[in-house]
């Protein structure tokens, strides 16, 4: 069987605000294969986190899935009753968030939060559950685990809390881990520890991962494939190494050029992408990136480009992709 583990198909999510509806996700499609790690990259408001919440059935009340399918292990999660979702969530579909403090229960010990989960999913109870909790904490590199298991979240440092979150997420042996900005709140030396831990866990369990981040450096070392989101859609996807080395969408290329890098010579000025992302409350005629695009094609004014394959496995939604080498991009050039 090679059906993908997770298949998101033409997903639409809308927020209903007083000022009108916000189309946060507008026809999003991607898949995560078994054992694979997919990076979902975008800036604030691109819809990357909203799409993850939709998978988990955790959208805020003001938001709803208005169209599309989310097939996980062959089953459509959209519209699934909460009781059935709950049986999947935390068991075969686990998640870690940016801020472990807001997702850990402050009045329960770390150990209790893990054993609770093991019991809820009928994996272990009592003594066995507690032993398993200690074992999990040890596995994620928490020193002195048998003591830590009895501590409360506030007694742990930020890095330690994120490790505890990873332990909790892994407790029921999930087949997919959704990590939403898992290291954004952490210091860089602690980030390196947590990324190493995630890589180690994936290597030993064959778990798939959906890594959501704004940091192109983080995806570089932690994912097999990469999807770049802009204004609620994927504008480019492909093998991580390929997309980073040969970006075809002007947005991806612009993002890569605007990040100052430690491994590159220091230029006089950073490249910038002029303007700001579009307002998703309004209709977007044509390509949503057109107002910021260095070389918009004439069609971009009329029609939003669909994602199409340029090279094997490398797709781009652009009327005039850069088609490396990058130097000779004529304004308005045809694809």
């Amino acid at each position: 069987m090679n059906t993908p583990l997770l298949e998101v198909e033409d997903l639409h999510v809308e927020f209903h605000a007083r000022q009108g509806r916000v189309r946060a996700v507008r026809g999003l499609s991607y898949q995560v294969d078994r054992g694979e790690s997919l990076g979902l990259v975008g800036e604030s408001g691109s819809g990357k986190s909203v799409s993850a919440l939709a998978i988990l059935g955790l959208l805020p009340r003001a938001a709803s899935v208005t169209a599309g399918r989310i097939r996980f292990q062959g089953r459509d999660l959209v519209g699934l009753p909460e009781r059935q979702l709950r049986a999947i969530r935390g068991r075969s579909l686990a998640l870690i968030f940016q801020d472990p403090l807001s997702s850990l229960n402050p009045v329960l010990t770390i150990g209790r939060q893990i054993t609770e989960q093991l019991r809820a999913h009928r994996i272990a109870t009592g003594r066995a559950a507690r032993d398993r909790a200690v074992e999990l904490l040890e596995r994620v590199g928490i020193p002195d685990a048998s003591r830590r298991v009895g501590q409360y979240p506030h007694q742990l440092s930020g890095g330690m809390r994120q490790r505890a979150m990873v332990a909790m997420a892994l407790s029921c042996g999930p087949s997919l881990l959704i990590a939403d900005e898992p290291t954004t709140a952490l210091d860089v030396t602690i980030q390196a520890q947590v990324l190493e831990l995630l890589a180690e866990m994936r290597a030993t369990t064959e778990m798939s991962m959906l890594l959501i981040t704004h940091d192109l450096g983080v995806v570089a070392g932690s994912t097999d494939r990469l999807a770049v989101m802009y204004a609620g859609r994927i504008v480019e996807d492909g093998a991580t190494a390929e997309v980073l080395a040969r970006p075809e969408h002007p947005y991806t290329a612009g993002l890569l050029e605007s990040v100052p890098r430690l491994d590159a010579p220091r230029d006089a000025a950073l490249h910038t992408i002029p303007g700001a992302p579009p307002d998703l409350r309004t209709e977007l005629p044509g390509c949503p990136f057109r107002p910021r695009c260095p070389h918009p094609a004439p069609q971009a004014q009329l029609q939003e480009p669909a994602l199409r394959e340029l090279r094997a496995g490398h797709r781009v939604a652009c009327w005039s992709p850069r088609l490396t080498p990058l130097q000779d991009t004529t304004p308005g050039g045809n694809p």
Binding site: T189, A192, D215, G221, A241, R261, D263, A269, L270, T272
Partner: protein, 350 residues
């Protein structure tokens, strides 16, 4: 200090700064113990120059900045601005000096009054310091143009702006009083990368145009490398390495700096998947109970490599010039084994 960095004296000269906070209060509300957030920090800043102050949470970098603008009261040390010791001044006598050092914060939204229009927010510092009398609205337009905003925006309120625009307003407000020094505390870390680059370029352009000196406090090492002429790396309240950016980034001599640099991921899958990374173990110790000897010895990969020499845990290394006799702005390191640091950084991207 006799050697000259340039022909002029430093605009800002901080010596032996110490900032402590009470942690527990005993009888009669007297503090029974202190936490030393900043220890013996010395730095100087010249006209038109950027000094990057980097470190992780709890390193004390923001406290240094806040002490310089006198939000936190230092317990020791001197802060000289154009030769005058700020810590000796109080009340009205401090005011003219306050004008000369301004601050830009991470979250511009929190530092702007939501009920005040942008024009009013920019007029306020002019009024307080008696500047541009009679031509204040013209000055407001000038300031908005300087930071790349439409002067018509003066009538708008903070919520009508995006994060990047609000940070431009925060910068305009700092510029309003024509300061010599701006303390920038994580000014771009809340912004998306495409917007971050715009603000970084704006700061660099303003410096070239106006000759302002920046103390640029940030945790993002790549952003600091891009903007700073010199850099100081802090760990647990002390500067462990400082010097010209090219020297510190290109040839880090403190094992903490080396580990910090090796932990920064770069957007290149080949580099990321092949390079050797120095992963520090454990967390930053609590400043309430700092390690003896070298502050970094509990996590130091170099100490481990050298077979845990005793000196690391017994003696606090002093910040010393790599080449003796050099000026304070030269490459300085606080490590007993600064000459061996190369063994940790053998194959990292430079």
């Amino acid at each position: 200090m006799t050697a000259q960095h340039t022909d002029e004296a430093a605009v800002l000269d901080v010596r032996d700064l110490e900032v402590r906070f009470p942690v527990r209060r005993g009888l009669l509300g007297r503090p029974s113990s202190w936490v030393y957030a900043v220890n013996d920090v010395s730095l100087e800043l010249y006209r038109g120059e950027t000094l990057g102050l980097v470190g992780e949470s709890g390193s004390g970098k923001s406290t240094v900045g806040r002490a310089i603008v006198r939000v936190n009261q230092p317990s020791k040390g001197t802060i000289r601005l154009g030769g005058q010791d700020l810590l000796a001044l109080h009340g009205p006598r401090l005011r003219p000096y306050r004008r000369r050092v301004q601050m830009v914060f991470q979250d511009p939204y929190a530092s702007l009054d939501p009920r005040q229009s942008v024009g009013d927010a920019l007029t306020e510092p002019l009024r307080v310091h008696g500047l541009a009398a009679g031509r204040r609205s013209a000055r407001v337009s000038e300031l908005l143009e300087l930071v790349g905003l439409d002067p018509a925006f003066a009538a708008r309120y903070p919520h009508q702006f995006s994060g990047g625009q609000r940070q431009r307003i925060g910068i305009a407000r700092a510029l309003a009083v024509e300061p010599d020094v701006i303390v920038c505390d994580e000014p771009v870390s809340a912004l998306d990368v495409s917007i971050q680059a715009q603000v970084v370029n704006l700061l660099a352009g303003l410096q070239r145009q106006l000759g302002i000196a920046y103390l640029f406090i940030a945790h993002d090492l790549a952003v600091v490398r891009h903007l700073a002429h010199r850099v100081a790396v802090m760990y647990l309240g002390s500067i462990v390495e400082t010097g010209p950016s090219d020297a510190v980034y290109g040839d880090p001599r403190h094992p903490y700096t080396a580990a910090l640099l090796s932990a920064v991921p770069v957007p290149d899958a080949v580099v990321e998947k092949t390079r050797r990374r120095t992963i520090l173990r454990g967390d930053i110790p609590s400043p309430e109970n700092p390690p003896t000897g070298c502050l970094f010895h509990t996590r130091c990969p170099l100490r481990e490599l050298l077979g845990s020499p005793e000196v690391c845990s017994t003696q606090r290394p002093r910040l010393q010039a790599l080449t003796p006799g050099h000026h304070r702005t030269a490459h300085h390191v606080a490590c007993h084994f600064a000459d061996e640091a190369g063994s940790l950084t053998a194959d990292q991207p430079r």
